[in-house]
Symmetry: C2
Subunit: 227 residues, 2 copies
C-alpha cells in the first residue's frame, strides 16, 4: 500500500513523512524545485527522505519566477523579519505563493495515480498564524473532490485520499508529535533565508524556535541569531 | 480586464482563445512543455498566440516522463490508430495523462492570481468520445471551488472564474464556432504523432477530419493519409 508524501524538508512535512511511515504506508516522497530563493530546503528534503527510508524521492522542477508576486520566489521583494507573532496573524503574508498547494497537490495526484498509490499526505496547518488560504480544511475538502472527480482511479474505484495529520495542531503539538516519531530535527530546514545557518529572525524561524522554547526543548539546528 | 487562456495549439484551445478575445478580454496564453512526444503542438500554440494578438504567452516546463502511465508522454506505449469512433468512446483512453487538466488549471490559477486576471478559459469538452474524467462539468465545478477557496483573491474578493465555452459542444459545433471567429486552422495542430504532416489516422486526427467532413468543409491542414 503506497502513499505519496509532499516533502519540503521543513519541520512540518518531515513530521508528516514519519507519520505516514508509522501509519504503515510505503512512502513516495515528492518535492518541488520551483526556483525558491535557496537550495537548503531541497537538501534537507533529500536528507529526510533518506533517513525515513522512502521507496522513492521525486523532485519536480518548474519555474514561476517570471510571474513574480511572492517574496519566496521574487528576489525584488524583501523577506519579512523580526515581526511579532501578532503581526504575522494579521493578514495573508507576502511569502504567500499563488496557488502553491494547488500545484503541489495536483502533481501529487498525478504521481499517486501513476504509481497506484492510495493516499497523499500533506503537512498543511490551519493554525499558528499561517494565514495561507490554501491550508484550511474547506480548501482541502475542495481538493479532495478534485481528486475524486478528476482521475480515472477516482471515477472507477476508490478515490485517492488526502491526509492532513497536522491540520488542527499547534506548532508545539507538531514538535511533540515529531519527537515521539523520532524526526531528526537537525536534518530539517525551516528558515526562509538560505544562509549557512538558519537566521533565527524570519517568520518561519521564529515560529519554530517559539515552539521548541515553549516545550522546554532545545532545537538541535544551529542558528546565527537566537533571542 | 484580463483572462488567462490555456492554449495547447489544437483546434479546441485555439477556438477558445479566439472566443475569449471576442468576449473582450485581454488574453494571456499559457502553454505547457511537459515533454510531450513532439514539439509540433507548442509551435502551433506560438503561431496561434501571435495570430490572436495575445498580451503575453507563457510556457511552463515540467517533466513527468519518469512517472510513465500515458501514451502521450511514455514512449514505451504505442499510440492508438485507426480505431473506430465507437471504440474511442468505450473507455478512458490510454492517451489519458493522470491529473493533466488539474495541473494545467493549477498553473493557470497561479498565473491568473499573479497578474490579477478575472477569468481562466479552458477548452475542455465532455462530448465526442473524449472519455477523460477531467473534462466533465462536475470536475470543472470542483476546480471552481478550489479557485474560490485556495487563493487570496477568492477569499478576499471575487473568485477567478473558469470559463468552458466548448464543454457541451460536439466537434462539428466547435469547428462552426471557430469558423465564425476566424480561427486560422492551418496554424493549429491536433495530431498525436509529430511528423511533418498530420497522420490522419490517430484518434485526434480522425475526430477532426470527421467534423470537417460532416460540415462539408475542407481542413486546410495537410495530412499524410486521409480516408
Amino acid at each position: 500500500m503506497k502513499a505519496v508524501v509532499l516533502l519540503s524538508g521543513g519541520l512540518d512535512s518531515s513530521t508528516v513523512l514519519y507519520q505516514a511511515k508509522k501509519d504503515g504506508w510505503e512512502c513516495y516522497a515528492l518535492s518541488f524545485d520551483y526556483q525558491q530563493r535557496h537550495r537548503r530546503e531541497l537538501e534537507a528534503a533529500a536528507k529526510i527522505a533518506l533517513s525515513a527510508g522512502v521507496a522513492a524521492h521525486q523532485v519536480v522542477q518548474f519555474d514561476l519566477r517570471a510571474w513574480g508576486g511572492s517574496a519566496l520566489t521574487d528576489l525584488a521583494i524583501d523577506l519579512p523579519t523580526e515581526r511579532s507573532l501578532q503581526e504575522m496573524s494579521a493578514s495573508i503574508p507576502i511569502t504567500y505563493v499563488p496557488a502553491r498547494n494547488t500545484i503541489f497537490l495536483s502533481f501529487a495526484l498525478a504521481y499517486a495515480e501513476a504509481i497506484e498509490a492510495q493516499r497523499v499526505y500533506i503537512g498543511v496547518n490551519a493554525l499558528d498564524y499561517s494565514g495561507y488560504p490554501d491550508c484550511r480544511p474547506d480548501y482541502i475538502q475542495a481538493m479532495q473532490e478534485v481528486f475524486r472527480l478528476g482521475t480515472k482511479q477516482g471515477r472507477e474505484g476508490e478515490p485517492i485520499a488526502i491526509v492532513t495529520p497536522l491540520i488542527d495542531l499547534k506548532k508545539t503539538a507538531i514538535v511533540e508529535l515529531g519527537n515521539r516519531l523520532g524526526v531528526p530535527w537537525e536534518k530539517t530546514w525551516s528558515c526562509y533565508a538560505g544562509e549557512e545557518l538558519a537566521c533565527g529572525v524570519c517568520d518561519s524561524c521564529q515560529l519554530r524556535l517559539a515552539a521548541f522554547a515553549e516545550l522546554g526543548l532545545k532545537d538541535p539546528l544551529p542558528y546565527s541569531f537566537q533571542s
